[in-house]
């Protein structure tokens, strides 16, 4: 598989306090196209910060971030915005759907972002395709307030997928959902990897983490690979416990 992302020695220090605090301490990570990677760890271990760096929300203090062998560690904001639009899709724990827009309009939001322009017909087709990918095309005209949590998160996933991203970053996407709904959401995310999209999932849920190809544990800013991937069909009893004691 093609190497998409290579982080080498990424460090991020939180300043502005009495004592500067190291959030990421020499993180190394490689992600290939179509690969799914889970990042687990305790609260405050730096998972979200790592995702911020990966998603170009934030810059590392040191280290290199290669995307397609291109160093983007110090990318200016306008170029970062362009890359976020063309390469990344984001799914958050809170769905961040705009209540005044329909599901289709929420998905189209990622297309109407000032990065190029698509005619309305083409935009609509892409939105419907994204909604179909997560199985909620029948809810296109519904507003978020009329949807369940799982449906809302799938709209958020459709929004992340609508630009055919190469990397999908998901920050606790099932955190606000029950187990069954969470599983459906993970299915929808994993479906994207079959089309060559890399998935990086930050989660506390060991079951969901176990469904990823690789699991990395982030402890006090240090990232380490935990265990080889297990088959989805394998017994969950054999899954390793990650990110703390088993529930």
């Amino acid at each position: 598989m093609t190497e998409l992302i290579r982080l080498t020695g990424i460090t991020k220090v939180l300043k502005g306090q009495k004592e500067p605090r190291t959030i990421l301490d020499g993180v190394d990570l490689t992600v290939r196209a179509g690969e799914s990677v889970a990042i687990v760890g305790r609260s405050g271990s730096g998972k979200s910060t790592l995702l911020s760096v990966l998603g170009l929300f934030d810059r590392p203090d040191s280290g290199t971030y290669l995307l397609d062998d291109r160093d983007i560690s110090r990318l200016p904001e306008r170029h970062a915005a362009k890359l976020r639009s063309s390469h990344f899709g984001f799914v958050f724990q809170r769905f961040f759907l705009l209540k005044h827009l329909t599901a289709a309009q929420n998905v189209a939001m990622a297309l109407i972002n000032g990065q190029g322009w698509q005619p309305r017909r083409e935009r609509r087709a892409r939105v419907m395709r994204a909604l179909e990918q997560v199985g909620i095309e029948h809810l296109a005209k519904n507003r978020p307030t009329k949807m369940s949590g799982g449906e809302q998160q799938r709209v958020a996933i459709a929004r992340a997928l609508v630009r055919d991203p190469r990397i999908l970053l998901a920050d606790e996407p099932t955190g606000a959902l029950d187990t069954e709904t969470g599983s459906i959401v993970i299915d929808a995310l994993q479906e994207a990897t079959t089309r060559g999209c890399a998935l990086i999932l930050v989660t506390h849920d060991r079951d969901h983490a176990a469904r990823m190809g690789r699991i990395h544990d982030l402890q006090a800013g240090v990232l380490s690979e935990r265990a080889p991937a297990l088959s989805l069909s394998g017994p969950t009893a054999q899954l390793p416990h990650v990110g703390g004691p088993a529930a």
């Binding site: 904001e77 362009k82 958050f92 724990q93 961040f96 990622a110 972002n113 000032g114 990065q115 929004r159």
Partner: protein, 430 residues
């Protein structure tokens, strides 16, 4: 170009969605802005209408800017001297004015003193002789069917200097042989009098016993509220000697010479008048339009400053609402940045919303102003002649749109900067 277009379109679409999502808030912003924009539109419209009315009539009465005017001093032979100099010239026209009455002889005119027909000046004009003794030329006469008006005899076409506007019929033709029946062109007030009162076609000029039969050939707008008639000098002097027409004791005669800026007539006339004994001969260059424009502009600026103040207060309202709205939409803007929306587009979204609000407000203010002016012309027009035919000046509409856009920028600039500066990490920490 494509990128700019995409950004612009994105900002407009998202801005439109934001307005639709917050209709009440947009409406309240519009309310706070409305008075300011309305004030700008009204001031501009009022100034435009006043300027058009004032300046239009001003040129008719005072003459075009750059025209030179010379009032003849009361010296014997001055009128004839001027008439001789300007005869056949187009760069200078002499105007000999006096009072005349058309209608029944031996009666008091319906508008004694040549007053407008809807006004009463309270009696006839007094005429004073050489000894300083004044008398009422209509004393003891009964009221009758006669109209008193000011008659101006012209040596040439005066419209090069005073652009009288034709209303009906034709203007005096100075290229034909003079007729024995003097051809008259009336102003609108005189025409109103002849429509209202049916009087015999017999004209008498002050100080002349002979009655002559005039023929009315046209009506012009001359900006004068008094009844007035214009006649060729050579047709009038068939009946009245010029010396009588310019006799200061003959009753309110005056002579004015209008000249182009660069005519040699000025020097010749001045020399002749001085030769006749005139001591004080002065020529005035007409500059009234510019003076009036300066005065109107000053007034307009004063009122615009006040309107601008109201507009700034309205913009402060928009700013207040804008800041509150951005505060509420922190997550939305952070999310938009996360999906790749550049900071400039985020600022553009907020500006698009305030600019659209400003434009809607401008449209409302212009609509209200147009409707108010229309209503005023319909309901007050019949009693207020200055409102008749008045149209909403397009410059006021443009000013309203500009005021709306400026208020939109003033009210949206700071919120736009705030929106552009929202960190994306907001969505990660939420």
């Amino acid at each position: 170009m494509m990128r700019l277009s995409g950004r612009l379109r994105s900002a407009m679409i998202i801005g439109g969605q934001g307005i639709r999502a917050r209709k009440l808030r947009t409406l309240l912003s519009m309310v706070s802005l409305f008075l300011g924009v309305l004030a700008v539109v009204v001031v501009q419209a009022g100034a435009g209408i006043a300027e058009r009315l004032q300046l239009a009539d001003l040129e008719l009465q005072a003459g075009k800017d750059g025209t030179k005017a010379l009032y003849l001093p009361p010296v014997a032979g001055a009128g004839q001297a001027v008439a001789d100099v300007v005869a056949g010239r187009s760069d200078a026209v002499a105007m000999f004015s006096t009072n005349a009455t058309i209608g029944e002889p031996g009666v008091r005119p319906v508008n004694e003193g040549g007053s407008p027909f809807d006004e009463n000046w309270g009696g006839s004009s007094q005429i004073c002789d050489n000894s300083g003794k004044c008398y009422d030329p209509n004393a003891g006469k009964p009221q009758g069917q006669a109209i008193e008006l000011r008659i101006t005899a012209l040596t040439g076409d005066v419209r090069d200097f005073r652009p009288y506007r034709p209303r009906s019929g034709q203007w005096l033709d100075f290229g034909t042989t003079p007729l024995l029946a003097p051809r008259l062109v009336l102003n609108e007030e005189a025409a109103k009098g002849f429509e209202r009162y049916h009087v015999p076609a017999e004209m008498r000029v002050n100080g002349v016993t002979a009655g002559l039969t005039p023929q009315i050939i046209g009506v012009v707008k001359d900006g004068n509220s008094q009844p007035q008639a214009y006649v060729r000098l050579d047709e009038l002097t068939n009946w009245i000697p010029l010396s009588k027409l310019t006799d200061p004791n003959g009753g309110f005669s005056d002579t004015q010479l209008l000249m182009a800026g660069s005519t040699p007539v000025e020097q010749v006339v001045i020399a002749k008048l001085k030769g006749l004994g005139a001591t004080d001969v002065s020529v005035e260059t007409i500059n009234s339009r510019k003076e009036m424009e300066d005065e109107l502009n000053l007034l307009r600026l004063i009122f615009l400053a006040m309107a601008g103040l109201v507009l700034v207060i309205g913009a402060a309202g928009v700013l207040n609402v804008g800041l509150a709205t951005v505060g509420e939409r922190v997550e939305e803007f952070a999310l938009r940045r996360a999906v790749g929306t550049p900071r400039a587009v985020l600022a553009g979204i907020v500006l698009a919303e305030t600019l659209l609000t400003g434009l809607f407000t401008a449209a409302a203010a212009i609509g209200v102003s147009v409707a108010a002016l229309k209503a005023a012309t319909i309901f007050l027009g019949p009693s207020q002649p200055f409102l008749q035919g008045v149209e909403f000046p397009w410059s006021a509409g443009v000013s309203g749109v500009i005021a709306g856009l400026v208020a939109g920028v003033l009210g949206g600039f700071v919120p736009a900067i705030r929106a552009a500066g929202i960190p994306i990490a907001t969505v990660m920490r939420a």
